[in-house]
Each structure stands twice: as C-alpha cells, then as structure tokens.
Amino acid sequence: MKKPSIILLAVFILSGVLAAAVGCELNDPDRDVKRLFPESTGYRTLYASIHERGGAELLARIERRLGDSFKGLFETADVPYTLYRIVKGAETVGYIHGVNQKGRYGGIQVFLALDPAGTIRAFYFQRLTNQNAKALRAPEFGQQFVGLNLPDFANYEVPTGRIRPGSRLAAIKNPAAAAEDDFRASLRAVKKNLILCDEFLLGNRFMGKEGT
C-alpha cells in the first residue's frame, strides 16, 4: 500500500488543491439545459470575450451601460464568457449565461436563462458562499427576477445600490438583511449578465434602455 499512497501524495502535493477558473460555465450543461429548457432538443456553446469582440472601446461601453467600472483584478476584458444558445430543432428557444461576481466571502456565480427576446425566465446561483446562502438560493428569491429584462434595470444604480421606488426592480426583496452585500452583488451580476447577453447575443436590442 505504500506505493499508491506515495502516488496519491505526489499528485496531490504537486498539483494543488484548487484549480483556477476565471470563466463561468455550467457545471453540467446537458443536465442544466434540460432543467432550464425542458422543451429544448440541444444547445450550442459560444465563447466570447470583450477583448476579442471590441477591446477597450467595448469595455468602456459595457461599463457605461452598467454604470460601474469593472474591478481590475478579476473582472477584466479578457475574461472568457461561455454562452449557451438553446435550440428546439432549428429554432432558438433561449439562452443561458453565467457571470462571476465578487461577493462578500468569495466569488458568486449568477446564471440567467433568457427567452429569445432577452427576458429572464430563470435565475439561480451556481456558486455562493454566505451564512445566508440558503435564503438567497431559495426558489422564491430567484422567482422575483423572472419576467425582467435589461430596461427594468434602468432603475438600478449599481454603485449606490439605489433602486427607484415603484419600479419592478423595487419589488425584489432581500431575503436576509445580513446578506445585503451579496444581495446587491447579485443585482449587479444580473445587470452585467443582461448587458453582456445584449452585446454578445441579442445585437444590442436594448442599447440605451438600461439607464446609467
């Protein structure tokens, strides 16, 4: 038994505990696509980065649309985004896209399923570390985003977290007061996600309607 143990140890100590992952991909695309789009017959995976699609000019436009700057170390123009176009036969029935967002205790991964018009049909956290993660992951919380699209976020100021009263976004409730940081982080992640989908998938159909 000595040799296998040494091999295990060798592989472990020389390869590290964690693997780096800057992009954001579905954990199990086949399963996740079927769960989010039961009617689908397949999906296509597309890859894009701000650097490839337009560089500094595109980054500046996305930041302007978001109303906030990308955070230098982990939110850069060369981050690869993985976008899933969901098909039913030859017809596109929607999209799935996830983004990384800095949360209070670590990276948060926020995934959206959109219909072809860019309206949210599902929201969920693929990754979230917080004492109140259970409340944030509850289906009731994600359900509040269903039916929203990018123009609804015109009423949300990312840097201050201010939401115009009476807007559809104002109806979204934080399920745990102690998780305010991650609640705001998730709103920012959704807005960023919708802007990236608009840029990479929807031909900027909501350009100028997302507020700044």
Binding site: L8, F12, G16, V17, A19, A21, A133
Partner: protein, 398 residues
C-alpha cells in the same frame, strides 16, 4: 567541358521527381520531429519535476502514521479521518544535526454544501508565520504579506485560490460550517507550485477554531546542505507513530510512472522511424529501377560501381538531411504544442516546460536521422552498383 560531380547528379536526380522526394522528406521530417520531441520530453519532464520539488522548500515531510498522508486522506475521505501528531514531534526532529529548519503544518478541511452542485471540500493549511515564510523564501506577494501573528483570523491566498475566490487584500473569507470570518491579508504571486491553489491560515488560529490544539498533520524539514537525507530518514523512523516521506522518493515514484508512458511514446517513435526508413528505401529503390538504362550508360562511360554506390547513397543522405532538418525545426517551433499535448495525456505533469529542445538535442536528432538514412540507402545503392552495363542498357526497365 565542365565536369559534373556525383553530388550534383544525386541532387538533380532528386529534383526530377519533386513530389516523391518532397513526400519522403516530409515523412522523415515527421519521424525526426517525434524523435526530437521525445528526447526533449525525457529531459524536460525530469527537470520540471525536480524544480517543482525543489520549490516545495523542504526535502522531507513527516506525517502521522496510519492512513498516511493528510493529502490522501482529504481526497479519499472527504476531509474527515485525518491523523494527527503531537506538536512535541517538532522538538524531537530538531534534535537531529542534519535538520536545518522545520515548519509545522496542520491541514483541515470542511465540507462546503454551497459549493458546486452537491458541495465540495474546502481545505485550509495552517502554517507558522515564524518558520513557514523562511522555508518558502521564494514565494513573492502580489498583494499584502504574511499574517500578523499565528492566532490572527487572517488568510493568505495562493494566486489561483485568490482568482477562484475573487479575493483581494482586505476582503473577507468564510470558513463554511465553522462560520469563521477571516480577513485576506496577502495574495501570493503565481509560483507555478501547489501553493498557487492553497489557502494559508495561521496555525494556532486553525488549531483553536477546529479544536485540534497541540496537533499537527505534517512537519516540513529542510535538511542541512551537508546532511545525509537518507540517514536522517532512517533516524526519523525511530520517532513513534510517524511516516517519513522523502520528496526524492516522491520524485522517483513519479519518474517510474512516467517511464511507462515514455516507453509507449518511444515505441511509437521507433515505429515512425521504421516507416520512414521503409519510405526512404522505397523512394530510392524506385528511383534506381527507373534509371536502370541511365545507370548502364554511366557505367559504360567509365563510372565505377563505387561511383554509382556513392551517387545513390548521396541521394539518400540528402533526403535524410533535409527531412531531419525539417523535423528538428518542427520540434523547435512546435515544442509548446507538444507540451500541451503531453499535459493532456499524462495524469500529472509538473509546472515547468515539459519538452526542452536545445541545439545539442537538435544536432543529435539530425545525426540519428542521417545514420538511419545511410543504413537505409545501402541496399538501393548496392543494387544500383552491381548492375551490368550492357544488360541495363538493353533492359526496358524492371
């Protein structure tokens, strides 16, 4: 009248069937590329592995006896069932004159149900801020520095761990399950070692918060330059309930595993070379048979068997020289691609360059290919040299 040499005739002969010559050169080139890359891998892998092990900062690791190593236990038992040593073992180890430095470590892991779909293990390595940084002097910080003291609720993240967790200095980190908040005080620059993926925390804090006061999972030992590692290992085995792992032993184990892969790749290279040899023999032999009458005329004009032999042999050497050069250039140019390919094939690869192709290696490959070419050319050259002039001229071609 201008005199034409055997070498010029050989060169012109190859140009007469350009496509065939080119394909033969490509075949030899590909074989030479495989050969050079394999030889480069032999050298590169060992050197990269040695560098990785040297970068660990210690040459000997002492762990608790039983299920042996905290690393293996973490993987196999999902973070439970760790075996511990008493802290007193550090003093016992320090008594040996071969020991230059020691650093105690405590590995702990928790199950994080919020990670991934069905949860995952988060591991924390408790290290002593007084001894660990000295032993890992090569570690540089991208941001911040080491902990302020060994009981602080602080963390230092390896480069990839920080990237994965999206943490910067001043951010918070939560140890799930235990509900312990840590402040990130340092982020290491990329080192290309296992430290890139590690979350370091102060050892005393970890012992206290996990209820493992006075316990360790490992002790790293740096041996004095004049010390005999093997002798020290034998002495350490006298300590009660410890397992001694020499990193030289780890290196040898990995190298023996990789040797199997090397044999397989070497076999492929040998087959590729044999195919290339057959290709060369075929090309030259066809060329000889197509020129039977021409060779007959040359002989009737006074060419000796040795001249014909040399001419055909020269054709082979030119093909091999050009093919070999192409292969060596491919090996140089595609070393990084080969590196990526090898990384996909092997279960574990060190962090440095796996394929090192230098000038010496290029020349060695070229020499091997030329020798193979010379051997391959003997039979066609011999067949051409022993042709009878009149029979050859009369023949319609074989």
């Amino acid at each position: 009248m201008k005199k034409i040499s055997v070498y010029q005739i050989a060169y012109k002969n190859l140009l007469r069937k350009r496509t065939r010559s080119l394909l033969t050169i490509v075949g030899i080139g590909l074989s030479a590329w495989v050969l050079a890359s394999l030889l480069g891998f032999n050298r590169g892998y060992e050197s990269a592995l040695k560098k990785d092990i040297d970068n660990m900062g210690f040459q000997v690791l002492v762990t608790a006896k039983g299920c042996p190593y905290e690393a293996a236990t973490l993987m196999l038992k999902g973070g439970t069932g760790l075996r511990y040593m008493s802290e007193g073992v550090v003093e016992d180890i320090l008594k040996h004159p071969e020991v230059e430095k020691v650093t105690p470590m405590l590995m702990q892991a928790v199950f994080d149900p919020e990670r991934g779909d069905s949860g995952a293990i988060s591991a924390y390595l408790g290290v002593d801020p007084a001894t660990f940084p000295q032993m890992k002097a090569f570690l540089k910080f991208k941001q911040g520095g080491w902990f302020s003291d060994s009981e602080a609720r602080q963390a230092v993240l390896g480069y990839e761990a920080a990237e994965l967790e999206q943490r910067e200095v001043g951010d918070m980190l939560l140890i799930p399950d235990k509900n312990i908040e840590l402040t990130v005080v340092g982020i290491l620059a990329r080192s290309g070692t296992q430290d890139d993926g590690t979350i370091f925390v102060p050892i005393r804090m970890l012992q206290k918060e996990f209820g493992e006061t006075g316990k360790l999972t490992a002790v790293g030992i740096k041996v004095d330059r004049r010390g005999d590692i093997a002798a020290l290992e034998n002495k350490l085995y006298d300590l009660p309930d410890v397992q001694v792992v020499s990193l030289a032993q780890v290196k040898n184990t990995i190298m023996s595993l990789v040797a199997t892969a090397k044999v397989m790749v070497l076999s492929i290279a040998v087959i590729a070379i044999l195919i290339a040899m057959v290709g060369v023999v075929n090309t030259i032999l066809m060329s000889v048979f197509e020129r039977v009458q021409e060779i007959g005329i040359m002989k009737s004009m006074g060419a000796m068997p040795g001249d014909i032999f040399r001419m055909i042999w020269t054709e082979t050497v030119i093909l091999c020289l050009l093919g070999g050069t192409l292969g060596v250039l491919l090996a140089f140019g595609l070393a990084k691609v080969t590196d990526l390919f090898v990384r996909r094939l092997l279960p574990y690869t060190p962090t440095g360059s796996l394929v090192i192709v230098g000038l010496g290696l290029g020349l060695t490959t070229l020499a091997i290919v030329i020798v193979i070419g010379l051997v391959s050319g003997v039979y066609p050259a011999w067949r051409a040299a022993r042709m009878r002039p009149l029979e050859s001229i009369r023949s319609e071609g074989e």
